[in-house]
Amino acid sequence: MKDPETPPVVAPLPSGSQPSYETGALRLALGLAPGRPFNLGTLLSDRLCEQGHGGRLALVWENHGGLRKDFTFDDLRRYSDVWAATLADLGIVAGDRVCLFLDRVPDLYFAFLGILKLGAVAQPLFSQFMADALEVRLADADTRAVITTARHVEKVRSVRARLPGLAWVILTDVKPGAAPVLGAGETAMNAESAPARAFTPFPASDDSPSLLHYTSGTTGRPKGAQHVHGSVLSQFATTRHVLDLRPEDVYWCTADPGWVTGTSYGIIGPWAVGATQAVFEAGFSAPRWYDFIARHRVTVFYTAPTAIRMLMKSPPPAAEQLVSLRHMCSVGEPLNPAAVLWAEKTMGRPFYDTYWQTETGAIMISNVPGLPIKPGSMGKPVPGIEAAILDAQTHRPITTPGAAGLLAFRPPWPSMFRGYFKAEQTYKGKFVGGYYLTGDRGSVDGDGYYWFVGRDDDVINTAGHLVGPFEVESALLRHPAVAESAAVSKPDPTYGEVVKSFIVLRPGHPGSDELKLDIMNFVRKHLSPLAMPHAIDFVDKLPKTRSGKILRRMLRAQEWGEPVGDLSSLDD
């Protein structure tokens, strides 16, 4: 029985009011004294325990095989302390990068909090990344430790010799005496089977590094967007306001924590609110997703347009399966009007589209409860966020309703990224004229609603994840038949965009459908399924400028049926 004096999980909101986005009010709502430093890992686990809420259900985890495990906030505290103490034993110190290369197993969540408690930097990576994609990101971050499982460890082992800074590989699923045998510099750790350990958390400040999320750009290798402990203020505010999440909710975010949605709103936001998270460690299946919502009585659902479009292709749910749902949101790519309308008809309520990026750390523009939805619009800036559409040449705000320009935000905000790891000039280049440039183009209508127009660069947004053309082209060049290549986006009815490659073959390699399939699989096996070209054209030559730069925008425009623009720099 809860003590009647036990404080609420978060301060209740006055009826009918919007949550404040003022940082002082947010800190008070989280029980933080003004100016008092806090550790994000502690805030997400120990705080509720110390307030008498340790017995609340924090995580309901289920895998494809039907195994279910429930964890309370007391469990989060205990298991994250074990991880923090174990990492400290291994010599990991504050500031070190620790990679989470895991499927959505419980230890992913415990280790994430433990890394933060230690003051180290969590570097989550999508477990479907293959060896080349993994190596690039571990090398750039000079990662000290990788936490993984037997399913993925061979990918780590295959690149480890070229990663001198990597001191430890930690496997979470080694059973005593069972394969795989641990090699040099490898150890085993599973929080649920380890004895309890006490741990004094690192005294973090708002600006202490917390997370390193890799994202792709047009040129060069992926960049590590650096986030901080204080980002929780933005994530907490938007989780309450946009996701409308309350402590009594059961919340399901389908994003993998290898991507920023999976950490900002798959770990940090919901546990800052004190809600129960449901995690389904499985792939896509419409019947099983509906069944998961029904059995766990999910009340708030956050997913991606690609998943929604895959649901649209599948048999609809039974009416009684979704009765628990009261709010649904979407993120990652523009939510097409058809998906909004389908959801209203089939799921009984609309999806609220949200817009943000790895770099922004939290939702910036959104449809929110109480604001009428214009299907296809990303909504309006959340309180405290100043958005603008800028002229591409002058970088001054465009005031004409409906005119397209560069989508930008006025810094700072609490969850704003604080740098690209070891790429200061690239970071500085994202800020022009007092604005952060998103790299997206958009417009704002006369009612203040924002509309997505497209990317302002060559980055490909497939299934809500950014793929850099340079990384794809680099992988293609390693295929023995490929002499030159260009990767661009191509519209796709399910994934929004997919990768299309234009390839010049080496002499002696005639083009064929079999070769196309071989090249597709080559990229998938070296980078990831996301980066795999869905279409390939063999061409005699690629369009280039006189200085030899590939004119990707010309190829992209052809794919999208858009004007190719100024071609005065085109060679020949």
């Binding site: 896509f284 996301l530 869905h534």
Partner: protein
């Protein structure tokens, strides 16, 4: 004319060979869930679809290329038969 079992085996051989990194030695049979289990990412369906198109001289319509239809070798056999593969 291959029977259902032969088609399923051809698909399983291809998956075992081309998706070895994803499977990591996990045994699969004709009824093993591939997409819904997370063994294979749904984005990988595209290359599997191309393999089936080439091998069985069909063109699987995008509308038919659902996660459910691609979730196992046996489900794929059903799909191919429905599309007229003899």
């Amino acid at each position: 004319m291959p029977d259902d079992q032969q088609i399923a085996q051809t698909i399983l051989d291809y998956i075992t060979r081309e998706y070895a990194d994803a499977l990591q030695g996990a045994p699969i049979d004709a009824n093993t869930p591939l997409i819904s289990s997370g063994l294979i990412d749904s984005l990988s369906m595209v290359s599997l679809k191309m393999f089936l198109d080439q091998t069985y001289c069909v063109r699987i319509p995008d509308a038919e290329a659902s996660a459910e239809a691609f979730d196992s070798a046996s489900a794929l056999v059903t799909l191919l038969r429905r599309l007229g593969v003899k």
